[in-house]
């Protein structure tokens, strides 16, 4: 059906013209043929009428001569094939053939219409008549046919010039115009202001609109592409891992950094359980992100073999997509920071000289231990210890020696520390030991052994030895206090009582000062090696 208007028009006009011309020509031919035949017959009748008078005379008088003239004059005509005159006195003159249906004319006597004297017959020359009719009708039909064809050509030409050619040109021009381009259909100024002209103008109007829209869309698309390019660049090159997961943790999309930060474990569906040491915290974050509607963030340690590494993970609920809850995630490598924090925490909580807890840690940890015991309904004992003769060491041997002594004492105290116990240097030559014991007998035994161990010789350099003593005040939880400061003050008060009484001893706190009973411990020391 890919046929042009011009071709269709030409075919329709040609076919229609041929059909109609043929039909009209045929009808015309048939009518004209009949007419020609009848006309020929009429002419023959008229010819016969024309010679009637002579024929009557001939028939009346039986005159052969006149009869011959009459018959000859009739047969002289091409339209008459034969004629016969029959009259009185046996007159009978005939020429040519008289077949078919001849015209018969009765002959009467001159001046007397009642006396028939003969008959004149003339046969039309049908073959000639038909040939003539065919010729006449044929020529007429041919002219009509030619006229119709010419009319068709004129109509087609007019339609072609006025309508189909401009339309075809318009179609071709429009076809070559790229929508959105600044090209327009040419509009001739001298063109008639007809429908085609208006159509052209309207199409140009539409093209204007299309160009505006297309240009607008193109600019927008370029803008979006550039934006997408930038965002993609950020996404691809970011050092932070960016990812999208569903509630089961399955990865929907992620950037390269995420792959590196997750050690490419994300290719497995249970990557969270493999990667992190405490994956349940991550699952909890997912649940809270939905329930609270707020981003969840946590520092998470990785599982073996990457247990030294830490990740900061931020998860936020980003809504549902095709019925599936999705979460946006950010993941940072915080290993360096975390390790720094650990070092700093260590520095903050531990005494840098002896490596045991410092005062700050002790003050922080003691309430926690108490809380644990409250819940367990267990008991604790707080042992406050102060060294004797330490000033003497510092003065005699110098501060380095003093430091050596403190390190050694801390080591020896550590020997008495059971799991769950806490040992701290509170500052100077003051130490604190918290043990999970409630029995006074056991505590007395512990204190005695500590005093004896602390009192042994301490090497403070090549061939140099000295010793220190130790006073211990003991407070019991819960009897002597429920709060950390109460217990420490109680232990302090008991220790003060030991110091006041002498050296190398221990004492339990008593609310009533009169009930204090200091126990001295004798320290047996090997003889000096110098």
């Amino acid at each position: 059906m890919n046929r042009s208007v011009q071709l269709t028009l030409a075919l329709v006009v040609a076919a229609g013209t041929l059909l109609l011309s043929g039909l009209v020509s045929w009808i015309s031919y048939v009518q004209r043929y009949d007419e020609e035949i009848r006309s020929g017959e009429r002419i023959v009748q008229e010819l016969v009428q024309a010679v009637r008078k002579s024929a009557e005379i001939a028939a009346f008088t039986g005159n052969n001569q006149i009869a011959n003239d009459v018959v000859s004059s009739l047969t002289a005509s091409e339209l008459v094939s034969g004629a016969q005159l029959q009259g009185d006195h046996g007159l009978m003159v005939a020429q040519g053939k008289l077949d078919g249906s001849p015209v018969a004319l009765p002959l009467f006597a001159p001046f007397n219409r009642e006396q028939q004297v003969g008959e004149l017959r003339a046969a039309p020359n049908y073959p000639a008549l038909q040939a003539s009719a065919r010729r006449g009708a044929g020529i007429a039909a041919l002219w009509l046919f030619a006229l119709s064809i010419m009319t068709g050509i004129v109509v087609y030409t007019a339609v072609f010039m006025v309508f189909s050619r401009p339309l075809t040109r318009l179609s071709r021009q429009l076809h070559e115009i790229l929508p959105g381009s600044p090209e327009r259909l040419p509009v001739a100024n001298e063109a008639p202001r007809n429908e085609l002209y208006r159509l052209t103008r309207d199409i140009n109007g539409l093209l204007n609109t299309v160009e505006l829209v297309v240009n607008g869309e193109r600019a927008l698309r370029e803008h979006i592409t550039e934006l997408e390019h930038r965002l993609r660049g950020m996404f691809e090159r970011a050092s932070v891992g960016i990812f999208l997961i569903n509630k089961d943790g399955r990865i929907k999309t992620h950037n390269p950094a995420f792959g590196e930060l997750s050690f490419h474990l994300h290719v497995q569906d249970n990557w969270m359980d493999i990667l992190f040491a405490q994956p349940e915290r991550l699952h909890g974050m997912l649940q809270r992100a939905v329930m609270q509607g707020q981003p969840q963030m946590q520092d998470l340690q990785l599982a073996e073999p990457n247990e030294g590494q830490w990740r900061h993970v931020v998860l936020s609920y980003s809504g549902e997509e095709q019925g599936e809850a999705l979460f946006q995630g950010l993941i940072y490598d915080i290993t360096d920071r975390k390790q720094g924090e650990l070092v700093m925490q260590r520095q903050a909580d531990y005494d840098h000289l002896t490596g045991i807890y410092n005062r700050r840690a002790a003050e922080m940890l003691l309430p926690q231990r108490l809380q644990q015991q409250v819940m367990r309904k267990g008991s604790l004992a707080v042992l406050m210890m102060d060294l004797d003769r330490f000033k003497h060491i510092n003065d005699n041997w110098g501060h380095e020696a003093g430091d050596q002594v403190l390190v050694e004492i801390a080591r020896r105290l550590g020997l008495f520390r059971a799991p769950g116990d806490m040992l701290a240097r509170l500052g100077g030559d003051e130490f604190l030991l918290v043990v999970e014991l409630g029995d006074r007998g056991q505590l007395a035994e512990l204190a005695s052994r500590i005093i004896r161990e602390v009192g042994q010789w301490i090497s403070i350099g090549p061939g140099k030895q000295d010793y220190v003593g130790c006073s211990i005040g003991i407070a019991l939880f819960p009897p002597h206090g429920r709060r950390a400061d109460e217990l420490r003050n109680a232990a302090d008060r008991a220790m003060y009582e030991v110091k006041r009484h002498g050296r190398n001893g221990y004492c339990f706190y008593e609310a009533d000062e009169t009930l204090y009973r200091v126990v001295s411990v004798e320290v047996l020391r090997a003889p000096r090696e110098d």
Partner: protein, 140 residues
Amino acid sequence: MHRFLLMMLALLGLIGTAQAHFVLIAGAGSNIPDLEKQQAANLYLGKPLMLASGVFVQPVDVVDTELRRDFYLHLTSQNLAMIDAYWAQLQFAGRSKPLLKLESEQEVIDFVRRRNNAIGFISRAALPKDKSVRVLLVLE
């Protein structure tokens, strides 16, 4: 008065003319039978009539215009011009001889007396008293 008389005379004249009687005659010895008016007309318009003896009847005409005119008017109801035109055509195309024209009624009488196959016409008044001619037809 004169007018009236003239009109009456003209009327009488017309009647006289119209009532002029002609007789068609043949010789007394002729065997030509009596004729019908139609037969007579045919003969005088050139239609041949053969007698039993194998001889054609010969009609004769007269020169006298007035006599001819009345006769033909009586016989064919045509005026002379028509009759003459007819004969001219017959003469020219049919190469027929025109009728013999005699000078007077007496010559007609004499001619039919001599020719047995001849017929002629005369006014009734001119008919001889003797039996030398035979009347074939009376035209009134």
